[in-house]
Amino acid sequence: MEEKKQMLSVWSWVGIILSVYGLIITGAGIYYLSRPETVTALHRLNPSLWWGAIIVVAGVLLLLAGRNR
């Protein structure tokens, strides 16, 4: 798919959006750590922090996969 006219690989596109989303969610997780009014079930687990980080890692891996194509 990527060869013709040097098209940006689909994996790069996915990597970009996941990295951006991961960073935003991790940032939101840090921001809301100090705000007890945003209580959800299991908020003590801070899901935004670790799930956001996992999404960033997935995004970066996909960016690398896209670059190698």
Partner: protein
């Protein structure tokens, strides 16, 4: 009464998604020049690309919401729609049917009917598919707006028009290529945005074993309660599941519905095309770990005093609306930021499903109706122009259908039944066409007509109680689901029988005309020497074994 209120960061995530998909469309326009680029994504997709797009075209948000709600009613039985109702058919498509589809270099499924039979079968299927796709597209749009209004309090008209126009723009710009790119983005958004709901739900319940320990046996097992339909919530026997769902409905949808099969047609070679549905099968198999687990968690929460988890009432009936379970779980577990991702994943699911409908519709309209009926000598450039215009027209017609559905709610029952009017008999025609060279064009046409007509009559007959459903299902307490499964089986059988009978008394095509279209007259791709890890048969076997293990584990 909205249950989820978006914070600023959530809005930012939603807006980034809209900007991103329009950006993809604008970027891909310069790579979309010829008809092959626009309608078949240039036939350059790898098996991974085609496979993920194949899966995502089917995986709309309505499936996620509907089956999570369905799990609250049917329990683990919903997994049958994945492990029995999808995997075998996807593997069969990849191994046995794709060589005929791909090698004949067609643009669409009706295109195969033209080559194998004649123009009559092509037109019958093209018109019924185009109508079905447009109606389904409108219904999806309506249901999307309904969910967004109920959950987020968004305005009906605004959410319908904004999402419809966004889809129209990026498909008109980049054609199937745009659709495939955004479907792959959607695949990753669904897993990153929704899987966490199942994980957090399981943690709250104390682990997966605890989830299963707390639900009644008729909801917890796959097969153990299927000997007697009164013992399970779906009111269906194992035979109904195997032949109605596992064979006819599933094979009818996965092997002949152009919306999904089109993605495999975009593959760069036959091996990639065969691997596309096989690759997709692994991810399809994993989806119950989002959908069914979330549904079981939601069911358990409704039973727990003091959980604070209450389903919203349905806007029409006022009854608890199971389809709101998933968004309510998002509201329960997700803090700001993650809420935006979850809602974006659902929106992406809605829109990718719509994009699938529109890209399949514009191809079938352009190649199988417009070029056949209106302009036989159309140039490639003209067809691309028609494809772009058709995309916009298709989107507008979908919005019109959505407004009709909004006014006349009962019309949805009819439209949702269209799948089994069209796909179940078509599978019989395809099966005979690909594997029996004696099957004739006249037999195929009248068989298809008889199958579609009988399915419609059975639907109407049950709807207006002309006869008891016992005569179709052999069960006194058959559910609507059970009726659907059995109706599909009878429609398939009628099409199969009529096609064979008429074929035996009419003249078949010569072997020369059928080369590359029928088994026995097409080179067997499995005879080529390929390393084990690159063979479609190897990965299909792995997928099948995994599906069998899951069925046995949850027996």
């Amino acid at each position: 009464m909205a249950v989820i209120h978006l914070a600023l960061v959530d809005w930012l995530i939603v807006l980034i998604y809209f900007a991103f998909i329009i950006g993809i469309g604008l970027y891909l326009k310069k790579f979309t020049v010829t008809g092959e680029d626009f309608f078949l994504a240039g036939r350059r997709s790898s098996s991974w690309m085609a496979g993920l797009a194949f899966l995502s075209a089917n995986l709309g948000a309505l499936e996620i919401l509907g089956w999570t709600g369905g799990t609250m009613k049917y329990g683990m039985f919903v997994s049958h729609f994945y492990w029995v109702g999808a995997i075998p058919a996807m593997l069969f498509l990849g191994l046995y049917m794709m060589p005929f589809y791909y090698s004949s270099k067609i643009h669409s499924v009706p295109g195969y009917l033209k080559l194998r039979f004649d123009e009559r079968s092509r037109l019958l299927n093209a018109v019924s598919f185009a109508v079905m796709t447009l109606l389904m597209s409108g219904i999806n749009l309506y249901l999307m707006a309904l969910v967004l209004r109920t959950i987020l309090g968004w305005d009906w008209h605004l959410s319908m028009w904004v999402s419809a126009l966004s889809i129209g723009v990026y498909i008109a710009l980049g054609g199937l290529l745009s659709a495939i790119f955004t479907e792959i983005v959607q695949f990753f958004l669904i897993w990153s945005g929704l899987f966490l709901v199942a994980i957090l739900g399981t943690i709250e319940m104390g682990g997966l074993s605890q989830v299963f320990a707390q639900i009644p046996p008729e909801m917890a097992r796959l097969w153990a309660t299927t000997a007697d339909p009164s013992q399970n919530a779906m009111g269906v026997t194992w035979m109904g599941i195997v032949i109605g769902l596992g064979f006819v409905l599933s094979f009818g949808y996965w092997t002949t519905d152009f919306l999904v099969v089109q993605r495999a047609f975009s593959s760069k070679n036959l091996r990639a095309a065969r691997l596309a549905p096989i690759t997709a099968s692994f991810f399809k198999m994993a989806l119950p770990f989002i959908i069914v687990v979330s549904g079981l968690v939601a069911w358990r929460l409704t039973q727990m005093a003091g959980s604070g988890f209450h389903l919203l009432p349905h806007p029409s009936t006022g009854e608890p609306w199971n389809d709101t379970a998933f968004p309510l779980l998002i509201a329960r577990y997700y803090p700001p930021g993650l809420v935006g991702l979850g809602i974006t994943a659902l929106l992406a699911g809605f829109m990718a499903g719509q994009a699938g409908n529109v890209s399949a519709f514009n191809t079938v309209w352009t190649y199988d109706i417009y070029r056949v009926v209106f302009k036989k000598d159309a140039t490639d450039e003209h067809l691309v122009w028609v494809g772009r215009v058709t995309t916009i027209v298709g989107i507008v017609l979908s919005v019109v259908t959505a407004y009709v559905a909004m006014q006349f709610n009962t019309i949805m029952d009819y439209i949702q039944a269209i799948f089994s009017w069209v796909n179940a008999p078509l599978f019989a025609t395809m099966l005979l066409g690909m594997f029996w060279k004696r099957c004739t064009s006249t037999g195929a046409f009248y068989g298809l007509l008889a199958g579609m007509g009988s399915s419609f009559l059975m639907f109407i007959g049950l709807k207006f109680a002309w006869f008891s459903s016992y005569w179709l299902t052999f069960s006194q307490n058959a559910s609507d689901m059970s009726n659907n499964l059995w109706r599909a089986w009878w429609a398939w059988l009628i099409c199969f029988g009529v096609t064979i009978l008429i074929s035996l008394v009419t003249k078949p095509k010569s072997d020369q005309e059928l080369e590359g279209l029928v088994k026995g007259l097409t080179p067997n791709p499995d005879l080529e020497k390929t390393p084990l890890l690159k063979r479609p048969t190897f990965w299909a076997a792995v997928s099948l074994v995994l599906a069998i293990i899951l069925n046995i584990y949850f027996w």
